[in-house]
Symmetry: C2
Subunit: 637 residues, 2 copies
Amino acid sequence: MPFAPSHILKPLPLGQVRIDDAFWSDRLETNRTITLPDVYQKCKKTGRIDAFKLDWKPGKPNQPHHFWDSDVAKWIEAAAYSLATHPDPKLEKLLTGVIDLIVKAQQPDGYLNVHFTVVEPEKRWSNLRDNHELYCAGHLMEAAAAHYEATGGREFLDAMRRCANHISSVFGRQKGKKRGYPGHEEIELALVKLYRATGEKRYLDLGRYFVDERGRKPLYFDVEARARGQDPKQYGAYHQADLPVRRMKTADGHAVRAMYLYCAMTDVASETGDKTLLAACKRLWKNVTHRRMYITGGVGSAKDGERFGADYDLPNETAYAETCAAIGLVFWAHRMLHLEPDARYADVMERALYNGVLSGVSLGGRKFFYDNPLTVYPRASDPARTGPSGHVRQEWFGCACCPTNIVRMLASLGRYVYSQGKNEIYVHLYAGGQAEFEIDSRKVRLTQKTRYPWKEKVRLAVHPEKPGTFTVAVRIPGWCRGASLKVNGRGVNLARITKKGYAKIKRLWKPGDTVELMLPMPVERIEANPNVRANSGKVALQRGPVVYCLEEIDNGPNLSEISLPADAALRAKYDKNLLGGVTVITGKARRRDDSSWKDCLYRPASSKTKVVSIQAMPYYAWCNRKPGEMLVWIRRG
Amino acid sequence: MPFAPSHILKPLPLGQVRIDDAFWSDRLETNRTITLPDVYQKCKKTGRIDAFKLDWKPGKPNQPHHFWDSDVAKWIEAAAYSLATHPDPKLEKLLTGVIDLIVKAQQPDGYLNVHFTVVEPEKRWSNLRDNHELYCAGHLMEAAAAHYEATGGREFLDAMRRCANHISSVFGRQKGKKRGYPGHEEIELALVKLYRATGEKRYLDLGRYFVDERGRKPLYFDVEARARGQDPKQYGAYHQADLPVRRMKTADGHAVRAMYLYCAMTDVASETGDKTLLAACKRLWKNVTHRRMYITGGVGSAKDGERFGADYDLPNETAYAETCAAIGLVFWAHRMLHLEPDARYADVMERALYNGVLSGVSLGGRKFFYDNPLTVYPRASDPARTGPSGHVRQEWFGCACCPTNIVRMLASLGRYVYSQGKNEIYVHLYAGGQAEFEIDSRKVRLTQKTRYPWKEKVRLAVHPEKPGTFTVAVRIPGWCRGASLKVNGRGVNLARITKKGYAKIKRLWKPGDTVELMLPMPVERIEANPNVRANSGKVALQRGPVVYCLEEIDNGPNLSEISLPADAALRAKYDKNLLGGVTVITGKARRRDDSSWKDCLYRPASSKTKVVSIQAMPYYAWCNRKPGEMLVWIRRG
């Protein structure tokens, strides 16, 4: 895989990375052996897969929805990633069967979308704003590229090329074409993947066109609404189509759409060297990560429209923070990192991965969160959050984007751990296993041993085929103060070699050289910017990259009544019997004495409190026992 | 006015009470001379009054809405109250003109509703659940009774009797009648008023029927939906029509509807002596005031459906707390008080009046709040609360129930101050002025002098025509600790004579006897029940009956960053130059230092804070200067 023109780093192909890790292996194994087949079964059962047979007729059940194709596509993508790391003839056969169905469902002109083939064929390409034809095509292209990379099979890739060619014949600036772009971004980044898989520049050009055309006047969504005989509705920034992408200053509108668009902008910038586009990406990055991101890496705070709220508007109980949006943030951070190797991107990637992404799937692998609030009160009156069990993971959703996204995210986790530079090896994340690099036509194997994020030590061993001079760049996480590093057992002055958050160890590496990194992990109380009014007077607990929360099962109800004195000692303790092994945080806190209240609603304030023991759990692991209240931001006091 | 059979107290007719008070007179004068004409003008301008000419035709502007009649009715009711205390020939003439229009709009069979006469006559009585025919008729009956009481004119009253007779011919349990009841309660309490004004028991019977029939199976709203050829929608408890009223245990559904229903239940219980109905009222009262009421007396916490939330679910920022619902709570408390003279009812009545009701209208008298949140952040992303100015009072609403409700509430304030018992005078509220009672056929004049709620002293003077033995019952407010009382300058042992919150002074009263009440008013920090999670770790400031808030104009933005140490001294200070004279609370509090944050969103917590001066304003007076943030519940710290 070549470097993109503006890439300083390139990701490693999935097949070159093996994860063998105390923390991740269980999760990835669950993902591969439980979630992946489970998502297939649910796609099958709900008719999403058989829909490609194109035999739906009015009156029959399971009318294909216009975004169903994307769910199957994401399952294929996940299955392909799985094959890249874990060959499995049975899975490969199943996959081939599904792909065959899809390829056969493609229309002679290359068009591919089940809904607009069998349900409303007359509406093809008539409403890019609301329908998801380009979005689905994009996911199918990503799936095809992944399948090609994993298996070398070209059938699906060729089908998606024909599909892309068809789309290219319909959309563009040339006379006779529609000057449209998708209402839900996705195809732009997929076209860049298709370009990278095939080398055909027309796909990059089409992706670039979609990015560039977006938000130009006259707004295409208005034009096509009028063509349908409808009044254009005012959607504001919902689809990020209210102004051209280079003029965007803040991350607005539907958060998943935004993340996919920013990924595509970064991709196009990486392939074209377009500095104005990169500047927009960096501006948007700052807006998201400095003002609009939860401590969990969740983004898109507003439930209404699943969208970004205003700067610092990060409510906890109504936090939407869709699992897909956190995944999108990981995608975007990973892309930015390859253009500009700066640990700030990897810090955000890690924050989202260990918290707002991983919370999206149960430890058992069969249940999912769509939205990821930071405070849950099952007894609240919000109808969407009410009920005896409150906010709990669900087995499936009518809009099933999150389960299918998380299965492909975890199946491709290896991509995010390392990158290869021109004469450099980058280590972004800490997870045991190994990876193969090629430096100056020399193979270099790197092994990693660690019990991160529970333990502070990471041990890397470098195994070049033969000795050679190159750089191993090791990320010093932003959350860490007082990191130290040894090479072959000798301490290194970190301050001197650290650049943009990476300790750059340039030396003549010989087989078996070791790097030992110590990342002190005290339990930290974290405070939020004073403009985040939801967190005034509160702290969150974090240890290493892991954000913690209180659950009712450990701490009783009315979690908001708990306050944590500044001087209360907090202790981290690994409990191997709890949920397959997690590090919990314990300590003493305070609660108001609630025994004398009875029916009184308001009374003159007393300052009487009692000491209580608390136990905090990793946020990602919440709601894997008895459902109940949950709280990330704890009152100081 | 006779006692209702189960009444221990009866209200004084409005004409027997004069308010001449440092706090209230300005507000009532504004209500009479500015709000009352202003509401008339807005009813006129929006077509609500001319709608009664019945000359609307399809295609013309100002299509009469099905609840428009009620706005005009409430204006008439307010105008009638105003005439009872402030004769005004010009107003009386204007009123007569409007009433003439209404009477002429009545159909030959007695039916009266503009919308269903000129817009959709075919839909008359076809959808009690959603349409507001009975609701409007109820308000017109209340208006007619008030007009009759104020002027003795019978024309409007007779028209509304014909209307009630018509309704009685349509609804009821007898064969051939519809077993319906209103989707928005109101007519039930109005029919009791009509009964009291006319002495005709059929109106009481009809009101009682509506109360009793409500929620019985088969549910009428389902029956009529099917008759319209529609699937019955599941509205749950929205209309309080999911179960019979005597089985209701919690206050649920639309809050204004609930309040009007509970008023009617109390009215019917007072006239019939129905103990099961009274028991239901008391159960609901406890649920509302022990678990579902804001400290301001606002009720109905959920914006979605303007309805009650679950027990203790009292969010501050999204508090709906409709002005009409607080007014409804005053109506209900006043009714309960006459069945069971207990200061707990008067405490709630006072709490709502000075806070959640009075906040509903600007000091200038021309702007109104429909909903009354307890925290406002203008820069929030909630679309309904966003915009440069945030949550500010509006000049009018498409649904104009609140302005018309507050104008009638304030115009009848005199009703709420005193009650007459069999051989007793009750003083519920403290407001300067005088009232005329009749005890044992003896006229007793009572004068009240006070600067309540700013000052602690209340001085009552009792002037019987001739000396006589009776009881003057003086409310010791629930918020007050350490009240003391003197009769003719001599201290009285309050504990010995206080019963259910009223100091009962039974003696031989001679003209000029005085009662002096001292109600100490320290600034109090109030805490909420630990189950009210929105107020965990917070206190509200209250002095006397007045609840305070912080406003941005006095305290800068990010009010949630302010924390109030338990030992910080708080001082009350009357500022005669501020908003026509208010008592403000000042003191020292703390804020995080926000100077070093810049673009950082999360960081290890520091406990550094700085001392800041704060000034709190009465909640009712907020948003009468530059709009901005507002906060009632302040963090402890």
